[in-house]
Subunit: 284 residues, 4 copies
């Protein structure tokens, strides 16, 4: 079923739900989901609504314009409009670790992820056989200090050529430049292997071991200029014990990472995420 | 802040959200929360909306009638209207076990539960000192096979005299008659000490031990005529190991029970539960 | 590091730990792990100990005999002796669903599972490309009512020819005969897609939906003659809400299934499971 | 049943389990539990064993000395010996928040905690009625900057007078001096209202809200000189959503706090905790 998803934000005020739902009703939209959120600390209103396109009286291409003219401009409202078709196009960046990649590709294979994967980019060759066994093009772009900017340029060119909508860093071990990130605002999902904001940095499981924590975690977030500090999409945890070595923690953690990353991808694919003020609203 | 909560159900059709939100907007209601659910298997629509009463242009007493006339009748809609003030009045039934009772009373004490507790009824005297230390009237009504009907009559009389809105069975070890239950449809909350539908009956932790399960649970549900089979409000689980004896399971289970029961009470107090077809919708 | 793992069971009595650990010390075994369990209801003692083989003064092949003569016979003790090398040989049975298979194979690929997978057997061809992309032999043995016995014979022959130590049913949709099961006692691991003992049978997620449960689960267990009733190895759960359709539950459930099954396989690979009286002790 | 609990630590070496268990066997000790742990990073061995005292051939008062002479001195071993009788004596420090106090007292009331509570100390009067309803002496010792040292002296005197074994800070809002802490090394349990090491400090739930985390937590730890940095005993988490306000987080967090603190108390009461190098081993 083809559907449209509308996510709006504006100053909180009376009548917003009425005006948006009246608009959808007027044009014969059958509402499938509606969810709203008010951030009372800042007086902002957020809403997500989805409806069937088949019976809708406005052409797909005209919806945004019509909604702007009939509703949004009067409420000083910002909005995004999404459609579940055609499928979003996702690029995956990997290095050497395979657990997140396999989890994503197995969901792609089984049809759980309604997505196109036009390419996988890696700075290493290790995972090329995995990627090609799924008949997905694999680009090997080694990175070192000297060529980082040039490689990023090449990456961006590939992403544009393949009309990529968003990027998943599936344990890609490189830090992206601000320049790269700004090309894809709130469209780069990273998995950090700790329960942020604890244990920021490169070796969080070892830090967790040193601190003797009883629970470890992983965090999927949108990438922003500030390292490991972007809006958190999803987090999950697992219990550990004193007898778990650092390498046990790595393994237990990887199970958490792949689950969290796949959940974040799913939310993104279903247009359920609104990022604002370095946080996310997850509508469901 | 005084607020009204409306829960509606009707056949799924276009325009329901628009008509309800238009009604609230027309009378200057500031919507606080709105959540809806469509059961596609049976084509039913459910919605919960809450709004501030202060600025609302309809008198509290007239809201139901006005909504019926202006909205509900045209959509063949059933609805319930709640207010967060005055506080709901809750009776607690206990036997000898104190863990759920303490958890409820400590939330009442700290103001986490916005509720009046006009009385506690028990078939034993054990918990009388606990109850009276919270300055709540305690009624001791011993039950045996011969007097069950008479006692239930007395209980019902007490509940009516104290204008009780709903009843919590906090490990009350007696089975209520259909007659009693029908006096309070979807207004009796029970905590069952297992992860229903597994291990129905009186000694679920021993059954769980025998079966060697690795997880045990507890279930809060509305009481219906069929034992342990009413609409489930909340469930929670805890992990156990082979070295846990049946009495360990009892203790681990009690921690789960009190958490689950208190969550169910909170949902009920906040008018977040809609029960239909032996299930619940929990709006949040 | 090569190591030996000893799992013993006998009537509970004084001095068992002393005698076993004295035996290991006498022959210069460096104990790596020791864990014990007493089932007080039946007065039985269980223990698992692992130690390094390198410095051990008894030849690998003589350990069992020596332990029998010097310790076990005097305590009327049953024991099993395992070595972590050579790697155990695991067969996987699948039908059409890929989620568990991918999870297992990705752990095999990354070296997380120290196991050989000499073959995968399926009654359908769907997953053949997946299996062969991992360079594992795939056997297609279609089953129907008429040929079931003959196919099982063929399966057993293949398993013996490939020197298989244990079998994983990764959502293999066929019921194995008692005859087949008895060939591999406590060596067939099945994943059942529900939180057993609730929702036994073929469509548990639909049953869970009908009952309106708030938590669903999955159970890995050894296969016994009685369907879905063998010793439980591991269980896990996930929270669901009223808005989850039966097909949502299937998807959420599959995430749980693959995690649970992989944990059970890991316990089995590390010789951490003792099955007795239709339960398991999981040493760790 | 009276039992002894021995917790030992020494450099890892062959034969430790054998020598300890041989000692227990020689004197007719029936081992109830035995658990060990090797920290391979530092080459240290830790073990906990418990056994019945009734049949044990050494007088309670002579056990430590005998064990020292016959075992510990040869292995350069440090050890602690505990008995489950008489019951440990626990002091509780509170301020104004009641949730942890109620949880502890309800477990004390029901007999789940095998403990004496000779006194509760508070810097406020708010919880006095709660404490006295359990017939426990309540000491009101207001603290401000000017009298802190004097009050601590008074507290220590009271604790000694009441022969207190360990102290629980049940959301006691004062920071104890190093001097006080050193009087009770690894015998002061604090509950911190965050998932340490994240959100150290006074208002962690507000910090968690600002950061937009999806999971919050609580941490029970032994108090050391460095604030919020002592050995972690237990942690637990709860899931939160964007629609939860800071005060929601406080309430959800309090449910986690009371569970975590009570678990930590239970581990301490059962002598299951060994603290070393700012971590804990939790034997079970």
């Amino acid at each position: 079923m083809e559907k449209a998803i509308l996510i709006v934000q504006c100053k909180d005020q009376k009548g917003i739900v009425a005006k948006v739902s009246e608009f959808l009703y007027k044009y014969k939209g059958n509402i499938l989901e509606i969810d709203q959120h008010v951030d009372e600390e800042i007086g902002m209103f957020f809403m997500r609504a989805s409806w069937e396109l088949e019976s809708f009286a406005i052409q797909k291409e005209q919806i945004a314009k019509t909604f702007e003219m009939e509703v949004a401009q009067f409420l000083n409202m910002k909005f995004d409009l999404y459609f579940n078709s055609p499928k979003p196009r996702m690029a995956i960046f990997v290095s050497k670790l395979s657990h997140c990649l396999f989890d994503i590709l197995s969901r792609y294979y089984s049809g759980q992820f309604q997505v196109e994967i036009p390419l996988v980019i890696s700075n290493h060759l290790d995972l090329k056989p995995v990627v090609t066994s799924f008949r997905i093009p694999f680009y090997h772009l080694p990175v070192d200090k000297s060529n980082k900017m040039a490689v990023e340029k090449e990456q961006i060119a590939l992403l544009k050529q393949h009309k990529v909508d968003f990027i998943v860093l599936a344990r890609y071990m490189q830090i992206l430049s601000g320049n790269f990130i700004n090309e894809f605002p709130n469209r780069i999902i990273n998995i950090h292997h700790s329960f942020l904001p604890a244990f920021v940095g490169a070796k969080p499981y070892h830090a967790a071991y040193e601190r003797g924590v009883k629970i470890i975690g992983a965090t999927a977030h949108y990438v922003t200029d500030e390292l490991d500090a972007g809006p958190i999409i999803e987090q999950e945890v697992a219990r550990v014990r004193h007898h778990n070595s650092p390498s046990d923690l790595v393994q237990i953690g990887q199970d958490v990472e792949k689950v969290v990353l796949s959940k974040a991808i799913k939310y993104h694919l279903e247009s359920k995420i609104l990022a604002y003020r370095n946080k996310t609203v997850i509508f469901y």
